[in-house]
Symmetry: C2
Subunit: 348 residues, 2 copies
């Protein structure tokens, strides 16, 4: 028998008696919730293994906090709540919790160092990655486990493992769908000084147009990522015989402005002018007509981040976005196209 | 001199040399960021007090985790990101971080008990409070510090301290503003099986109408808290000579539906039919015309929660909402009304 040096974990008890982590916890805290036989089994394992539920003791003995730090910053991001919930699930599967903190961009690294010095966290998930990110360099240099949600766009290799949405690929899917609806003149709606992620979506649009033998997309630049600014910029582009018949927005916010520009020009969104957005926000779903958009597959993203916290040698992971077709551009999804083509191949 | 029994905290070092917590952290981790004189002063205090930055040691010695648990659940809530950021700030001021976890409603208490057993948290902030909340009873019974964001609506006293938005009061403000614009026939738009918070807003509407000598509000009930459902229900109510001239939505989502019903009936939102929402979501601001709504004052809410974690004997705290007037109902705010009346009193 191997001599144990660390404390017994709740996961070990769960595995030993073939129940979930939560059932072990219930046996300790809410025994009345369990069937007699289950309770007896779990209690036997707890006694047999000598399990003691105490995180701070575990920290001292095993040198692990069982926590991953994440910095949240203000902003109207409905996406972030879903991301945090998914991250909690993915990390709980590995016995870790999320230590949430907030700091300005300038102070974030200093707070990270503080948390490490306090042994409050074992590593970090980073968001809002920037070119030549000092957090990545600092953590990487000290061998602290971390995984970045997002890429840097400078061309230089970024430090440490990352997971990101394949924005270019998702927009290429959208353009393929628009082409399937008969669209040949496509505009890409961006904003001045847009993010690296938005520019990546623009590249996807250009590449897809080229691959389909279409003219390069008309790039329309709004003054800001804002419906009013997008409406103003797009109105001018909708005039003339060669005006686009489909507008691919870099964001849902821009797509809302595109839909307004269409209405102002007497065009019906959908039949006369196809409009698509990006993010699948509540805004997109609540428009009339509702906007086609691209959803980030959260479970795949957080699973990739959790894997990379454990094994920092893993490569960067590009996750495919999910195209969500709605009335503003009722395009076929990749799955539908593949069903159609296999149907055609079968001679239907 | 009092003999110290616990470890020295970073806050004590900061106080001793008159700098911020973050400056002490910088002195430990990023000394190059500080001026020589500041660095020397902080280092002297660190040495003098014998400060050692190690959270797990602190947990063992002082019996405190320095963490407050919060359960986040999936959902498109842009509000939650801002709430969590504000909560991190309010707790950091007291030297605590947020331990974020997720669980179904059924499992949440079990996870809470688990975290307490592990000494991972010192207490909890509870959201999604329900009538006869078992989390409140359980935590209260064990003397665990907690503070609830939200009230129960059963009429029975709830366990432990709480903070909530005064929804009835905020809607009364809205009705007062609508009356100031000349509106006398007001509808309140709710949904079937709405939350206690939505019903509280409805009571505020009824009370304000009564206090102003108006007819009771016409209560319109949508099948769900959804724009399409709200549009259908309100369309019927907009017919006839006694149709309301202003619609107070229990949520922004319902208000969006109300605006659509107005357009469908040939009414201009704002001039012909005033529409207001609640939550001040991105949806409200992005409507055309933009929707008047009510914002939750986050800083006051999280400050109240942090105070009540420290002192559970404090009473429940009702925080006033901020009315945000926009084109859909350009009402005067309380501040504007008070300026006007003082101007009138001064004989202007």
């Amino acid at each position: 028998m191997v001599k144990r040096t660390g404390r017994v974990t709740i996961e070990e008890v769960a595995t030993a008696c073939g129940v979930s982590r939560q059932t072990v916890s219930n046996a300790v805290n809410f025994p009345e919730r369990l069937a007699e036989s289950t309770l007896a089994k779990v209690r036997a394992a707890i006694t047999g293994l000598g399990y003691q539920p105490d995180r701070s003791a575990r920290t001292m003995v095993r040198g692990q906090a069982g926590q991953i730090g994440f910095c949240v910053r203000n902003g109207r991001s409905e996406f972030m709540t879903s991301f945090l919930t998914a991250l909690c699930v993915a990390l709980a599967d590995r016995g870790s919790h999320v230590l949430l903190f907030t700091a300005s961009r300038e102070d974030e690294l200093s707070v990270c160092a503080d948390l490490l010095a306090q042994r409050a966290v074992d590593g970090f998930v980073l968001a809002d990655v920037v070119d030549d990110d000092e957090r990545q360099r600092w953590l990487h240099g000290r061998g602290v486990p971390f995984a970045s949600f997002g890429r840097t766009w400078s061309g230089s290799a970024q430090s440490g493992p990352w997971v990101d949405l394949d924005g270019a690929g998702a927009i290429a899917e959208v353009v393929l769908g628009l082409h399937g609806l008969g669209h040949e003149r496509i505009a890409f709606l961006d904003w001045t000084g847009s993010s690296g992620a938005a520019k990546d979506r623009g590249r996807g649009c250009a590449t897809a147009c080229r691959d389909l033998g279409l003219a390069p997309p008309l790039v329309v630049e709004a003054a800001a990522d804002d419906p009013a600014a997008a409406e103003v910029s797009l109105r001018r582009a909708l005039v003339g015989d060669s005006a686009p018949t489909a507008v691919v927005g870099a964001t849902d916010t821009l797509a809302v402005g595109a839909a307004r520009a269409a209405s102002a020009a007497g065009l019906r969104v959908g039949p006369d002018l196809a409009v698509t957005g990006f993010d699948d926000s509540a805004l997109a779903a609540a428009q009339q007509p509702a906007l086609t958009s691209v959803r980030q597959p959260l479970d795949a993203i957080v699973a990739g981040l959790a894997e990379r916290l454990r094994d920092p040698t893993l490569d960067g992971l590009l996750v495919a976005g999910e195209v969500v077709p709605r009335e503003s551009a009722p395009i076929a999804t990749a799955a539908e196209r593949s069903r159609e083509s296999s149907g055609a191949a079968a001679g239907r």
